[in-house]
Each structure stands twice: as C-alpha cells, then as structure tokens.
Symmetry: C2
C-alpha cells in the first residue's frame, strides 16, 4: 500500500517513537501526581519535552508550552481564550475548520466580527489585504502557516510584522508545517502557536500543544485537577497548569519527545528537501496528463502537497480508484477547508489530495504517476 495521505496523519512513524511509547507504557506513573519515582520520572520527562518544543519553535520558555490532545484543542484554547468579546478578527480563506468553527462560534455568541483575506483561483492571497482590513477594533490575526489543500506556505514573518505594527494578537495554526518548515515564534511575532504531534512532527496521535508568548493572556479552558494547589477553587494562574487539567497523555508525549529528537537528528532541512523532491517528481509526472487540473500556485513556497482533479470526475471516485485498484491512499472531498474549495471553485467536485512524507520513496511516486497515467488515459482517449 502506498500512503500519500500524510497531511491527514503520518502513518509511518520512526521506530524510536514507537519504542518510546512502549517504554512509557511499561514504566510511567502520572506526572504531577505524587513524588514517587515513576511519577517524578513522568514529570521530569514531560518538562524536558516542554523544553524541547520551546527550543524547536523558539518560544518563550518551557512553562509557556501547553500540551493538548491535538491542534484543534490548541486552536480552541487560543481562539476562545485570547480573543476578547466584540473584537474584530482577520483570518484567511486558507483556513481549516479547526480555525473557522471556533471563529464562527465567537461571531455567533461573543459579538466578534470577522474578515477573511481572500484566496484567488490559484489559491494565492494578497498580503496587502491584511492591512487594508484593519480597523480600530481589530484585535487579532488568525491564520494557518500552510494550506492543507494546496500546500501554499504563508509568509508568517510578513504577517507577524503587520500584527506587531498594529499590536494585534497573532494566532497561527501550524498543523501542516510543524516539523516540516522551521518556525521561529520570536522572529515571526507569533503569540499563540498551535501544533499537532501526529502529522509533520511524526509523533503519536493524541498529542499536540500550544506555545504562548509573554504578551498575551489566555483564559482557562478545561478546568479540573492539577496535582498542585488543590484548595484553589479555580485553575491556578500560572502556566502551563492554567491551561492543562487532568492527566496528560504522558505515553504520547514520550513518543513526541523521540519524534523531535528524530527530526533534529535527521535535520528539518533534509526532511523538507526530500519531501519537496518527491512532490516535484509527482507533479512533473502528472501535470501534462489529459484532463488533470492541479490546484495552487506551484511557483510559490509550499508544503509537499499536490491537489488535483481528473476532468469533471468526482474526487471521491478518483480517490477510490487509486485506493482500490492501485493501493494508493489519498484524500478526496472537502478536506475541512470549505473556504479554500470555494475560492478554487471545487465545492461540488472536491479535490484529490496527495501529500508526501519523508518516509515515502521515489519508487512510490513513480507508481502513483503510472496509476494516474492509466486513469487519465482511460477517460480521455
């Protein structure tokens, strides 16, 4: 089976990640709940991972790294916890529902006003639009680092500079970029960096988090047991415990730790280069096939994604053929990115998304190209 759905989750994990989870499941206590060896070791390990992530993202300190179960939870915490009622917020057409739905909820229940920087039919945005949309009551910019549909990478330094100029909270969805593209919170002026562990970071499902700058306050989200300050009737004030409640996924975090080590050891640039090579190899192989439309601007910086359609065929049908006749996994449909499909004109058809990881091979790409050749020729001869 050829797995090209890495934008959904990286199915193949480094062996060290799996081993770290196994070790944790054999020895780990409940961190912050006890002073015995297994609990202390759990606490120590978890603190070390906070440090690693803080260094990885050039953040504001280990205690400003909050663990969540996925980036959706991180985005809910960030968007609902940092944006004040009645604020005006700027976002983009590239966003995933994990950004859109929390924003729509604020619009519907907290008097928040929204504007979206438009994507054109090539999936590109105009950076000047951010500044043009700013009003006196604008309080935040919320955007993805990279589209999960076209792969387009946004220039976060440029957007962060605008946020800084107007003193806006800058919230970033790094679901598609963490572990693939270097992120520097400080250079990019990011206030709330939301990431997931199980995609580009190559960690286990059930992990993710939020890195917070020292410029923003985030209201507590989940409240409950924190292992310390039990007699407080509210969540303690200090980070990270302010935004974490209940037992953490220590087993998953142990795996995430090994995943970051793996990426650091191989080198994020090496990983990125290979993924880009695979993507370009695939693109070159299919771009001139009869009936193929590829979405997004291939000249811009992008993650290793190719989204396409074959003639007027429903994307689900093409994806099913790839899966059942050729054993190639892709993702069709709407990709939880409704505004992007609206911008591209692919609402009814959806699109077939191929997304490549460091563990894919040139041979697998060639297989996929061959499969596409057969599919396209059968329909357009």
């Amino acid at each position: 089976m050829v797995y090209f759905d890495n934008a959904a989750t990286t199915m193949k994990k480094p062996e060290t990640v799996i081993q770290a989870v196994v070790n944790a499941m054999q020895t780990m206590g409940n961190s912050s709940r006890g002073t015995h060896e297994s609990s202390m070791n759990a606490s120590r390990m978890i603190f070390e991972v906070r440090m690693k992530l803080d260094q990885f993202f050039h953040g504001y300190g280990a205690d400003h790294v909050v663990f969540t179960c996925n980036s959706t939870e991180a985005l809910n915490i960030a968007i609902r916890g940092a944006i004040p009622e009645h604020a005006h917020v700027i976002s983009t057409d590239l966003e995933h529902n994990s950004v859109l739905r929390p924003l729509y909820e604020l619009r519907d229940h907290a008097g928040v006003h929204l504007d979206f920087v438009k994507a054109d039919t090539a999936g590109n945005i105009d950076y000047d639009a951010f500044e043009m949309l700013i009003r006196p009551d604008t309080k935040a910019i919320v955007c993805t680092h990279a589209s999960n549909l076209t792969g387009l990478v946004l220039d976060l330094e440029r957007i962060g500079a605008i946020a800084k100029k107007y003193q806006l909270i800058f919230i970033v969805d790094a679901s598609q970029s963490a572990g693939v593209i270097p992120i520097n919170m400080k250079k990019m002026n990011i206030d709330l960096l939301c990431f997931t562990g199980h995609k580009g970071l190559m960690g286990p499902q059930g992990t993710g988090g939020l890195c917070i700058s020292d410029r923003v306050d985030v209201r507590p989200w989940k409240v409950g047991g924190t292992g310390v300050q039990s007699y407080l009737e509210t969540q303690p004030e200090e980070l990270p415990v302010r935004l974490e409640a209940g037992t953490l996924n220590g087993h998953g975090i142990a795996g995430l730790s090994a995943a970051i080590d793996y990426i650091e050891e191989i080198g994020i640039d090496v990983i990125h280069e290979k993924e880009q090579m695979l993507m370009k190899r695939f693109y070159d192989g299919i771009k001139d096939l009869p009936g193929v439309t590829v979405y997004g601007d291939q000249e811009k910086e992008k993650t290793a994604i190719i989204a396409l359609n074959v003639g007027g065929e429903d994307s689900g049908k093409i994806s099913d053929i790839l899966s059942y006749e050729y054993g190639i996994s892709t993702r069709p449909g709407a990709h939880c990115a409704p505004r992007m499909h609206q911008a591209l004109g692919t609402v009814s058809q959806g699109a077939v998304r191929f997304s490549f990881s460091y563990f894919n091979t040139a041979q697998e790409v060639d297989e996929a190209v061959k499969a596409m050749e057969e599919i396209c020729s059968k329909r357009f001869v």
Copy 2:
C-alpha cells in the same frame, strides 16, 4: 519498586494493550478523513471500540459514546454542556477537582447555585440529604462513583432513582470505578457517564470518554474539523461528532480496545475480588500499628484504596520515606479532593494513599506492611 498509586494511574498495563498501540502506530491512518484502507480501518476500529464501551457500560448506543483525552475533559463537556444557566445543582463532598472546578466555574460565571451533600468524619454520606436539598430549580446531580481518597463507593442506583423521580440530569464521574465495578447506565439512570482509560480500565494515558443517554442534550465543546459536513459553519448536530473535533487519539483508542477485551476475558468480578483481597490484607496488617489512623468506613463497599496517616507526621514525609527507603509508591497530599480532606480533618496533614491494582501481589502488600511496621515503630517506641 512496588507501585501502589493505581488510583492515579495503573502503571502496569496488560501486554496486549501495549501491543495494540504498537500495531496502531505502524498501520493507522486518520479515521473519518479519507476512504483509503488505513483510514477506513481506523474508522472501523474506532467504531468497534465505541460499541465495546457502550456494551461495557450498558449505554444508549455506540454513537452515544464520545471519546475524550481524559475524564476531566469528559466532565468539562458534561457539566458545562448539559447544565443550564441559573440551575441549582447537587453534588457531594467526595468530589475531585475535575468535578468541583467546572461546577465552581458555572457558579461564578453562569449563575448556577451549588449544594454539596456532606461527608462526615468517617467519609460517609447520608443519602436522604440528596432529596432534602432538592428545590424547584434543581436541574442536576453530579457525583463520583467512588471517592479517590477513601475509596467509598456511592450507591448510584439509589442516587439515580432520586434523579429519575425529580427528572434531574444525572452526571457521574467514573474515574475510580470504570473497569473495577460494574456500571449499568440504564439501571442507574445515568445521563452522562464520564470515564478515563488509563486507571481501572488499564488503557493508555490520553484516552477517556463520555457515554450519553437519550434524555439529555449536550452543547458542543471543542469545535473544528469533523471529516464530514465540511461546509457547515457549526459542529454537526449528530452524536458522536457533535462533541468530537480534530484527530482522535486512534493509537490510544486501539490500546483501550485491547484493555476492555482483557478485562472482559479475566472478568471484572475476578479483578475486583483480587483487588479487594490485597486491600484487606494491607488493612489488616496496618490497622493496629501504633499511630496509624485509617480514613473512611472500612465496613462500606469501597474500591481498593487505603488512606492513612502516621501520628501527626506530614503525609508527604511518610510517602517520601516509603518511596526512597522502601521503593514503595504511594500518593500523599490533597489528592485534588479538597472537600473530602476538609470533611476528614486532614487539610494540613494530607493523607498517604495506597491504591491496589489487579497486577499487584500479596508479597508486595506484605512488603508494604513490613515497611509500615518499621516506620511506625521508629516513631512510637
């Protein structure tokens, strides 16, 4: 190392649970995000686990089983999503902060009024107090199945009957009982059963959930990508997707599946019996030691927990001695159960909690008894 902190987390997991997680990490796609083999298999597996949990708890159907990252998240969803503003709610002194803090938040921000059924110095409650506290605006009862400090098991059928009589929403925290004591949502008239995967269920950290009856509506909590209905601006109405957003912890859920199989295979009564035997063996060994105070009524039905103090010694000090001099893990302090400690009179001292699992042995208990004998004799000779 002897591990007696199973009420915090069951450190030792069945081998099949670990193996299931390993298998998942090698093969699992992202469920509900794609129609290719690894995604379909993930979706299928996750649906099967919903069915297993539904059967395990005698619930209202697989689609009424919602996955969360821990019971704290489940309790936040239940308490904040089902209880209306300005309601009167009855809870108890036995509760953990994962129940108390969400309730206090509703009190402070949603006009909710709270009353707590008192625990006496033996940690017992008076069941008549529930009915005496009911008022015209009472909308819910929220209580634990078993105290995480004394182990006292509450008679949920009895409380559920009261909830049914007055048509109250009945929310239960099963963190300490799931996998240890049989739970029947229908017989017990439970509307929202909140459980965690990593304690008595012997599953991985990062798993848990919420079983919902067909009598109650729960407002969405986390909003975001659901893999279906991408063009809806809100979470879809139907369960379970209404209350789940983003990628589930499929790896953890695979482990939870194996854990339930394990419990069903061994038999929950067999597990319960062994834990009770271990607890009683320990209790008999230490109850008459000089200076020992054991908390809670040992004549009542309880989970396998013994909470004690040695003279006036700080519980942390005794727990540290047990850990560092004898390699025995326990949990001192407040246990996130402030009202219970207030009821027992142990606020400043805390208590040393020993909690036993199916994987502990009589030999380990005897070691702990011997350690306690030495500790007590050194202080009271």
